[in-house]
């Protein structure tokens, strides 16, 4: 999503206004200045040595002067990590520091161990959404218990376990807070109760590893345990190799948890060798690929040509699975109406058909509505020594420039475990199709090549067949009212080790009888070609 800082001319104009008014804009007492600085430094985990602004300014001037005289100043600053009770107890930020040097070992994970199966309860609030068989096994073989807690504003967040290999990081949390929980449950909302916990935090979206944001937030799952605590699992894709003898992980939530404002910060240090054990990587590189030509991309006969070179930035596998990241850049266009449009140059990783040298297909996946170029990859055969990456290209079969054809499949076929071919080279097999308590759920198991996992593959044709929730909405502009109809909430979760997507359609008001009357589903079929001429082979080397 673009923001105002992406409009350079406007921002430079704003910058000029700021520079002009710096001397006259507002006032701050010296006490306020120092208070704000100390608060900032506390949040950064630093130990503010000098209280005055004046002293630090002079020091900074001296530093800058020396730098200019001697050349680049190279000094590593180690920001001290401090325990909450010692320094920040009186401030609003609360930190916890984990045990020294955590190693990845085989350890049970309460998130999985203590939970019933979704099949038994059919309720995302009572059990993890998916089975996660292979992923669970991999995680429990490669993680460490932490057991650190932070409490703020009546909400306690405990970091139960952490797991990291060269491809991904997983954290497991328990979150409790009676007042906060009650407030969530009392929200007047026609949606399912489990969804009210979505986004209430803590999110830890911007996890840092060795000070860098190289962890791309991916799958998450949550449920309430028997005591009413929220159990949360968050999976991250790593976009670079975690380096060093010690790997520092910072998880900072500075907005809210269970909807309550506050701050919950954790720092753990992992043993680098332990994290990288068993890892394999492919050499990054840039590979020439033919340009992609899109005739009639805007519906008005304009042709668009885009660079589709493969910029392989990161390809790695560890005991928990794999990751692939390619470089993709945004290109701003103007369509025939004069409106802004955007296209993407560089070959996206999900446009690669990947097979190892034993013939095993690898499947890519990413959580829905997540931005970022990295994808989960299922693991190659343990004996594999290389991967072949074959680019896939869309053909354009339609006059209006669209790339897909709409196809139909029946509910009976889905119930019987049909294949849904989204491309001629692959698609999904539907498993565990169930209608129960106003919910339609199923698993999408990949086969062949299918451009990664998405939840919106199958669209139920439920018009005129189901009851819906009506909501009165007011137009803010003219005060007029309209009735909006809401049918269902679509959601999904992914098992990264298997590439399987578990999908739910939670209907707000439809009965099971109404849902059983839905006889057809639609999906999009994309015509593609496999560009074997430009396939590349990448050797897998052990991480040293």
């Amino acid at each position: 999503m673009k923001n105002s800082t992406e409009y350079p001319e406007l921002m430079w104009e704003l910058h000029q206004l700021v520079q002009k008014d710096l001397e006259t804009g507002g006032s701050l007492s010296p006490d306020q200045n120092d208070r704000i600085c100390q608060m900032a430094l506390c949040k950064m985990g630093a130990d503010p040595k000098t209280a005055s602004v004046q002293g630090n300014i002079q020091g900074a001037k001296n530093m800058e002067s020396k730098r200019k005289q001697k050349g680049a100043l190279r000094r590593t600053v180690r920001v001290g990590l401090i325990a909450a009770a010692l320094f920040c107890a009186s401030a609003m930020t609360v930190y916890a520091v984990g045990p020294d040097l955590i190693q990845m070992i085989s350890e049970k994970i309460g998130f999985f161990q203590d939970a019933p199966s979704q099949e038994d309860v059919n309720d995302p609030l009572s059990a993890p959404r998916g089975d996660y068989g292979e992923t669970k096994q991999a995680l429990e073989g490669f993680n460490a218990a932490v057991g650190q807690s932070v409490t703020d504003n009546g909400v306690t967040v405990t970091l139960d376990n952490i797991s990291m290999d060269v491809s991904s990081m997983d954290i497991f949390l328990t979150i409790s807070g009676e007042e906060a929980m009650q407030a969530i449950e009392e929200i007047d909302d026609y949606g399912p109760l489990w969804n009210r916990f979505f986004g209430t935090g803590p999110n830890f979206y911007w996890a840092k590893i060795n000070g860098k944001e190289i962890a791309q937030a991916d799958v998450e799952d949550w449920y309430l345990d028997e005591e009413g605590n929220l159990k949360l699992w968050r999976h991250y894709l790593l976009t670079e190799m975690p380096e060093g003898e010690e790997i520092t992980v910072e998880l900072n939530e500075t907005e809210c948890a269970l909807g309550k404002a506050g701050e919950w910060c954790f720092t753990v240090t992992l043993d680098g060798d332990s994290v990288r054990a068993g890892g394999k990587v492919g050499e990054p590189g840039t590979y020439f690929m033919p340009e992609a030509v899109y005739p009639n991309y805007d519906g008005f006969g304009s042709t668009l040509t885009l660079n589709k070179d493969l910029g392989l930035e990161y390809l790695a596998f560890g005991p928990k699975g794999g990751v692939i990241k390619t470089s993709v850049t945004e290109k701003k266009l103007t369509d025939a109406n004069g409106s802004d449009a955007y296209a993407y140059e560089g070959l996206d990783a999900n446009m690669l058909y990947i097979v190892d040298n034993t013939g095993k297909e690898l499947y890519s996946s990413r959580a829905a509505f997540i931005s970022g170029e990295a994808l989960n990859l299922t693991a190659p055969d343990p004996s594999a020594t290389s991967l072949t990456l074959t680019p896939m290209r869309y053909r354009y079969a339609n006059e209006d420039g669209s790339t897909s054809k709409t196809r139909t499949i029946t509910t009976d076929e889905l119930k019987n475990g049909a294949k849904v071919p989204t491309r001629q080279y692959g698609g999904y097999t539907v498993e565990n199709f169930t209608i129960h308590n106003g919910v339609i759920s199923y698993d999408l198991v990949p086969y062949g090549w299918n451009c990664g996992s998405y939840s919106e593959i199958l669209r139920p044709q439920d018009d005129g067949k189901i009851s819906m929730v009506a909501e009165e909405a007011t137009n803010l502009q003219d005060g007029g009212t309209a009735t909006l109809l809401h049918s269902a909430l679509l959601s999904s979760t992914i098992d990264p080790q298997a590439g399987v997507t578990s999908v739910r359609h939670d209907y707000y008001a439809a009965s099971d009888e109404e849902l059983q009357s839905i006889t057809e589903w639609k999906y999009e079929y994309f015509d593609v070609e496999m560009d074997t001429e430009h396939a590349i082979t990448v050797a897998l080397e052990d991480v040293k």
Partner: protein
């Protein structure tokens, strides 16, 4: 104010090499501007305003390397960041329903939703002067009509009229664009 202001590259360098000093320099140079924006959105809560101001400094430290490489103008980035963080805090406090109504501030918060942020920016960028400067000062720097009038040599009443006309135009364009975005999304994703 210091006779020799630090350039933004010098500030980024300090934040990376000596974060503590960098924070103090950043505060000395931009602290008043940041606090003025934040306290205009959180006039009832000076403590929250100070904390949000501290958050802006921390965010700058976190982004120093990226900002340095991208050559984004620091003053503008700080203005937008301060405004957005203060708005987020105000929304949190509003959900707790402990803030009294403040029409002027709440209008700004309502107008600048996360969905519309990029569109509002694009639409303001297309305005001609002096309307563009008026909107930059009003929506990004939170200046009053009187302050804007004094800065650009225009009567307060005239500034208010231009703001009202511009707001209507922004809203119309915003609703039109968001409708288009929804239809484009639906077409691309086959969602009905």
């Amino acid at each position: 104010m210091w006779e020799e202001a630090f350039s933004q590259q010098q500030i980024y360098r300090l934040l990376e090499k000596d974060p503590e000093r960098g924070i103090y320099v950043l505060q000395s140079q931009y602290g008043k501007m940041i606090f003025r924006i934040v306290s205009r959105i959180l006039p009832e809560y000076p403590e929250d305003a100070e904390e949000v101001a501290a958050d802006v400094l921390v965010a700058t430290w976190q982004q120093a390397s990226l900002l340095s490489q991208s050559h984004k103008p620091l003053g503008a980035w700080l203005t937008v960041t301060a405004r957005n963080r203060a708005i987020d805090r105000r929304r949190l406090l509003s959900r707790k329903q402990i803030l009294p109504l403040n029409e002027e501030v709440d209008f700004l918060v309502e107008t600048i939703s996360s969905d519309g942020e990029d569109l509002i920016g694009a639409l303001v960028a297309q305005m001609t002067q002096p309307d563009r400067e008026i909107f930059l000062r009003r929506y990004y720097r939170l200046e009053t009509a009187k302050e804007i009038g004094e800065a650009i040599g225009m009567r307060t009443h005239t500034v208010n009229v231009r703001l009202a006309r511009g707001r209507k135009k922004l809203k119309d364009e915003y609703l039109k664009q968001m409708g288009k975005e929804c239809r484009r999304y639906e077409k691309q994703h086959g969602v009905s």
